[in-house]
């Protein structure tokens, strides 16, 4: 018979909020509610499916806090359904979506539309950000308060507003909403039409450079605005040493400022552009080797709060051209978890607890999203992760429509073996066989 009560036993349960790791067992009933923690089910409980995850980690609420999901408008690049598949397979239990769709998410009606679409089509919770200005035109503020009331968790135009006065108003106007404005910092008058970091490699490759200052000056400006006029700012992604230092000092001054970065900035520097590989074209660009190291240092000392994919899926045509004309961006939902864990835990020696914070509790706190933890009588969302086995990432493993990834062909650890969302198993790796009973993997978004 098919059982609906599952026991996940011998897992190394990480609690990023309390900063603990303990080996335990979870009993989840047919309603997806945790009814037991710590004890083993009796052998005679025939209705229980037992999954032994000995040696594997259980991390709650892994959230990708910066994804361009393309729906509506560019369903050829991604849909809620394909992004959702990528998320659960990659070990992600919630997505925070940017408003850069067509049309843009710049009204409460569009925010409601995203919620409705996700309920109909997606199985992973999707939290929309609203645009900061109408149509992301940088000229007039969008209806931030109405969007907030409709469920927007933050506001972004991508870049911060060119018009310093309007940026001041955006921060002031939203300051009491306690929701972040997310800024991908760039001064376009400095970066011009640059396509890679300005330095030795842009010189020898003959490509227009983007100097680090184009990011840093904008971050410095926006920090000063927050200091004087209030507001909540989250810089994402930061790519330079000086950006990290500016945020470090802003935090020391007690400002409501956080920052995040993406896994690819921890792996690659500007030398990766040699040979003009278009899957390595990303904005902000890969910086110098010392910038890359400064990001890792910023993670270790807590200046960098979050790691998110900066998911920007493209069709094959967006990247199957020369470097200058190729679309910037990396498809990252599939690889966020394994690339982050491989770099930070395996290579840099951070603890699973510390890295879990970057992927889970910190992004949720930045966006003021409340999700149940792993506790009795809760419907939990969590991922079971294997840190012992290495695997080679193949494009065939991608569930996202975007295959534009610089990570394809590389070796990683940290494979997600099971993803549970609100008490339902949404993904389970074939290698994770139940000891007894038969598993039900829920595919229907209504269940």
């Amino acid at each position: 018979m098919i059982t609906e009560t599952i026991a996940i036993i011998n897992g190394r349960l990480i609690d990023p909020v309390r900063g603990t790791e303990e080996v335990t067992n979870l009993l989840i009933n047919s309603n997806g509610v945790i009814t037991g923690m710590g004890y083993l089910p009796d052998d005679d409980e025939e209705t229980t499916t037992v999954i032994d995850v000995k040696g594997r980690f259980i991390i709650p609420n892994i959230t990708d806090s910066h994804c361009s999901l393309r729906e509506p408008g560019h369903e050829d690049k991604e849909t809620f359904l394909s992004a959702s598949d990528a998320a659960v397979t990659g070990g992600i239990t919630a997505l925070i979506a940017t408003p850069d769709t067509h049309p843009t998410v710049d009204t409460p009606e569009m925010v409601s539309f995203i919620h409705a679409r996700r309920r109909a089509a997606g199985i992973v919770p999707i939290y929309p950000m609203g645009a900061l200005s109408k149509g992301i035109n940088g000229l007039e503020l969008a209806e931030l308060r109405l969007m907030h009331d409709a469920g927007a968790v933050g506001f972004t135009d991508g870049n911060s507003l060119e018009h310093t006065g309007l940026m001041r108003h955006a921060l002031q106007y939203s300051s009491d909403l306690d929701r972040p404005i997310i800024v991908t910092a760039d001064d376009p008058l400095l970066s011009q039409n640059g396509v890679m970091n300005e330095g030795y490699y842009s010189t020898i490759l003959g490509l227009r450079g983007i100097h680090a200052e184009s990011e840093e000056l904008r971050i410095a400006r926006d920090i000063e605005l927050v200091e004087r006029f209030g507001g909540v700012l989250h810089f994402f992604p930061v790519s330079t040493a000086q950006s990290v230092e500016l945020v470090r000092r802003a935090k020391a001054r007690g400002l409501a400022i956080t920052c995040g970065t993406s896994p690819h900035y921890l792996y690659f520097d500007e030398s990766a552009i040699d040979g003009y590989p278009t899957n390595f074209k990303v904005l902000p660009p890969f910086r110098s080797a010392s910038d890359r190291q400064a990001l890792i240092d910023g993670i270790k000392d807590g200046t960098i709060d979050a790691i998110a994919s900066h998911h920007q899926p493209h069709t094959i045509d967006g990247k199957r051209t020369d470097f200058v004309d190729a679309d910037p961006g990396i498809s990252g939902i599939d690889t966020l978890v394994c690339t982050t864990l491989t770099k930070l835990v395996r290579d840099e020696g951070l603890s699973m607890v510390d890295v879990s914070r970057l992927l889970s509790s910190n992004p949720l706190a930045i966006f003021r999203i409340k999700r149940p933890g792993i506790a009795l009588m809760k419907r939990p969302s969590f991922t079971v992760i294997d840190m012992k086995t290495d695997f080679t990432l193949e494009s065939s493993q991608f569930k996202s429509k975007g295959l534009n990834s610089p990570f394809i062909g590389r070796q990683f650890t940290g494979k997600s073996l099971m993803t549970v969302i609100e008490g339902r198993i949404r993904f389970i790796d074939p290698s994770l066989k139940p000891t007894t009973g038969t598993l039900v993997v829920s595919k229907d978004p209504t269940t």
Partner: protein, 306 residues
């Protein structure tokens, strides 16, 4: 001797001294053959596509002439593109042309890396005739061919590359090859037009050319484009000419055997005065003549039956 294992000529950065010597000496023997009225016919029955996405007269005609002299035929296409106009993709354009069955493609494009992309997607040899600010390898080779013709060798010679280094593919191809061949390379221009970290390539950056001009054996003068002024790289042409223009006055302490090169087209009275461009030290037309020879050598090495 399999000195050129790669199927294409994308740039001189990957050339070591042996490869440079080989191709330059091949060009010298072709020049001798040509002077003796003996014609190599190694491109007989072959058709080369000259695919120019950016305007060019000199380079395109030079390649066409080289192809004809080797007995081949060529088809030339000028397709000026704008990134704002989204039409057929570069991939489709190139694949369609390739399907017509050319034996090689000579390509010029405003974007660095386009020849590399085309080389990646096609099986036929690709010759870079200038990609963005990256490289212009046949120009680099013809410049050095001309320098060697004038002075025997470039080893330990001082070469000044003067002008808009930032936006110059000629500068980069010259620098890579000259350094391999043992020359001392100096670059000079307004600080805004000197690219980041260029000293790491192994060149010396000078901002006042008057301090170094007397030591130079060669000066390669780059074309200055008016649009750079509009974008604020320097204030006026007048000021540029005053600080960096190659004038007769400036050459008063130069070595008598100094050779002055210019890849063309020349802006007379701006980066170089007519008295200098036409003067006894100029080898500008020798460059043009040698351009055909060097391109014959490139085509012969890439396309001749092995």
């Amino acid at each position: 001797m399999q000195i050129s294992p790669e199927k294409s000529l994308l740039g001189l950065r990957s050339f070591n001294r042996d490869r440079l010597d080989f191709i330059l000496s091949h060009a010298r023997s072709l020049k001798q053959l040509y002077a003796d009225n003996t014609h190599a016919r190694s491109l007989q029955g072959k058709t080369v596509l000259n695919l120019f996405f950016e305007p060019s007269t000199r380079t395109r005609v030079s390649f066409e002439t080289a192809i004809k002299r080797l007995g081949g035929s060529s088809v030339a296409i000028s397709m000026e593109t704008s990134s704002l106009k989204k039409g057929e993709t570069l991939f489709d354009t190139v694949k369609n042309l390739d399907a017509m069955g050319f034996d090689a493609i000579v390509v010029r494009h405003r974007n660095a890396g386009v020849p590399h992309f085309i080389d990646h997607i096609l099986d036929v040899p690709v010759i870079n005739a200038g990609d963005g600010f990256n490289e212009h390898p046949s120009q680099g080779l013809l410049d050095i061919f001309t320098m060697q013709e004038q002075r025997g060798s470039v080893e330990n010679r001082n070469v000044l590359i003067l002008g808009d280094i930032l936006h110059s593919r000629v500068a980069r191809s010259n620098i890579w090859a000259l350094l391999q061949l043992g020359a001392k390379v100096f670059v000079a221009g307004p600080p805004t037009l000197i690219p980041a970290n260029i000293a790491d390539m192994g060149v010396t950056v000078v901002h006042s050319i008057d301090d170094v001009i007397s030591q130079m054996d060669f000066i390669n003068v780059l074309r200055i484009q008016y649009e750079r002024q509009d974008l604020g790289y320097f204030p006026t042409i007048r000021e540029y000419r005053d600080q960096f223009g190659l004038t007769q006055e400036r050459l008063k302490d130069a070595k008598p055997e100094l050779c002055i090169l210019h890849p063309g087209p020349i802006n007379r009275g701006i980066e170089i005065d007519s008295a200098v461009a036409d003067g006894p030290n100029n080898v500008i037309l020798n460059q043009v003549t040698n351009g055909v020879i060097v391109r014959m050598a490139i085509l012969d090495l890439l396309l001749a039956p092995k």
